[in-house]
């Protein structure tokens, strides 16, 4: 990644486990994340001006340990404190908890936002147990923009938390991925089968059945999202139609076509749509849909330009 984009990324850290901006920012809240590889551009791909300042990376689907996380926090700290954006996974959370304790011993103020946007992974009454998936991208963007705008740690954290609360996601898979160390597919699925609601590591979903036309699959996804948080006339949203790795972008646009029609019919306005591979699961075939419901602040922060190979400004 650094070889391809040397103006954007640099590798750093005692064990070369952090990716960071080429130059440290000045006088702003730091924003960092961390997580396993296998989801490019999540996590480390979103390092860039107006996004993450640094990111700790682990092995495929494995949390980095606390040490690179602490290095990322130290790099990002300019005296204004550091916000850590954490996907809701046991290892990531525990290691970031320890990182923040360590940072506080070094007199660096820290805050955490846990992203848990996957509606298929737990019901609304247990929303705090949901996994973090493609909604991470929105939270990175909003936090990065808030920090760039000069908000302090509390305000940056509040904006990121608001973005996280406003995101709902659900995925559909047609084939599994294979974790290199395991050497075999994480789950078995027939050629003519799909699974709704699986996680970005191949965690089991909520429904499995025969392959259906794209409009029907999109309707199922949107129905799940709508049941969780109904949208109506006059609502403004940003949507991310995300490919999981092995699905042609052409098909993602077919999903978007159906989604656009449904939103139009419901009187919901789409702002800053994104269609492409933003949060992948290696060679898994499938897609996810993330909807972030906007208010004035989120819409403004979303529109702030960011500089990163994986983010397109509109």
């Amino acid at each position: 990644m650094c070889l391809a984009y040397p103006d954007v990324y640099a590798v750093d850290g005692e064990t070369a486990r952090i990716l960071r901006r080429t130059r440290a920012a000045k006088g702003k809240v730091g924003v960092v994340s961390g997580g396993g590889f296998g989801h490019i551009p999540v996590f480390a791909g979103y390092v860039g001006d107006g996004l993450l300042d640094a990111c700790a990376v682990g092995d495929v689907f494995a949390s980095p340990d606390m040490n690179p996380m602490l290095e990322a926090v130290r790099f990002a700290d300019t005296g204004a404190g550091v916000l850590c954006i954490v996907g809701n996974y046991g290892g990531d959370r525990m290691n970031f908890d320890m990182t923040c304790e360590m940072a506080e011993m070094e007199d660096i103020a820290t805050a955490r936002v846990i992203v848990s946007d996957d509606v298929a992974s737990a019901g609304p009454d247990e929303a705090e147990k949901r996994r973090g998936v493609a909604g991470l991208v929105y939270v990175f963007k909003i936090a990065g923009a808030a920090a760039k705008a000069g908000m302090d740690l509390a305000a940056t954290t509040a904006a990121a938390q608001k973005a996280s609360n406003a995101c709902r996601s659900i995925g559909v898979a047609m084939s599994s991925c294979t974790v290199p160390q395991a050497g075999k597919p994480t789950f078995e699925i027939g050629d003519m089968e799909i699974e709704i609601g699986m996680g970005i590591h191949g965690e089991p979903g909520v429904w499995r059945g025969p392959l259906q036309p794209v409009d029907a699959v999109t309707d199922t996804l949107l129905d799940h999202l709508d049941r969780d948080r109904p949208l109506g006339q006059g609502d403004r949203v940003s949507v991310l139609v995300n490919g999981l790795g092995a699905t042609p972008v052409e098909e993602l646009f077919l999903i978007y076509r159906r989604l656009h029609k449904r939103m139009s019919n419901a009187g919901v306005e789409i702002v800053h749509p994104m269609v492409g591979n933003y949060a992948t699961s290696m060679e898994m075939a499938g897609a996810s849909v993330t909807i972030m419901k906007l208010d004035g602040e989120l819409e403004q922060l979303l529109s702030v330009p960011a500089d990163c190979p994986f983010w397109r400004n509109l």
């Binding site: 494995a62 949390s63 340990d65 606390m66 040490n67 602490l70 290892g91 525990m94 290691n95 908890d97 320890m98 304790e101 360590m102 011993m105």
Partner: protein
Amino acid sequence: MALTTETLRRGIARVQSKIDTIGPEMNELDGRLGDGDLGVTLINGFHNMAKVADTLPDDVGMALFGCAKAMTQVSGSSFGTLMATALMAAGKQAKGESDVEWSRFPELLASAQEAMILRGGASLGDKTLLDSTDAVIAATREQNTPNGLQEAALKAASDALDAFRDKPNRIGRARIFGDRTIGMDDPGMVAFLRLIQCFDDG
């Protein structure tokens, strides 16, 4: 006479010199109930702590944090994470101090225990390391010398092991074995006792 970073260094060196014989026993014990990596965690952890010992700062709190960092560098296992958690919690209590009175040992251990309960989710009585630390905290309250502490801790950890041997494990992978764990020693409790025994001869 107090706990300093120098004392800590000597302690690490002491454990390091014995850990290669303790490790295999722990792997064996853990292999019956868990994933069998407890010994590896201890061996790698203490060797890495020894590696960084000379660079530890005089601030005992920061030195304990340095030990925690060294632990997490070599182990992502649950026991390694809990040890790091314990060291950090104790470190927080000692931040900014270059010598800590021995009489504060139970207080530091109590913070460590509380942090391990929060992070690991086990409760007292589940037949884990916590039941040993709890017994040691109670037994060392009146002690203010290293030898007194060691003797009281040794007896308490040993008694706790005896008291829990015939109870079932209630948490972690060992819980799956249920009543079959009756009569077996919990590997974490044994590990804690072995660490205390490293200081048998003063």
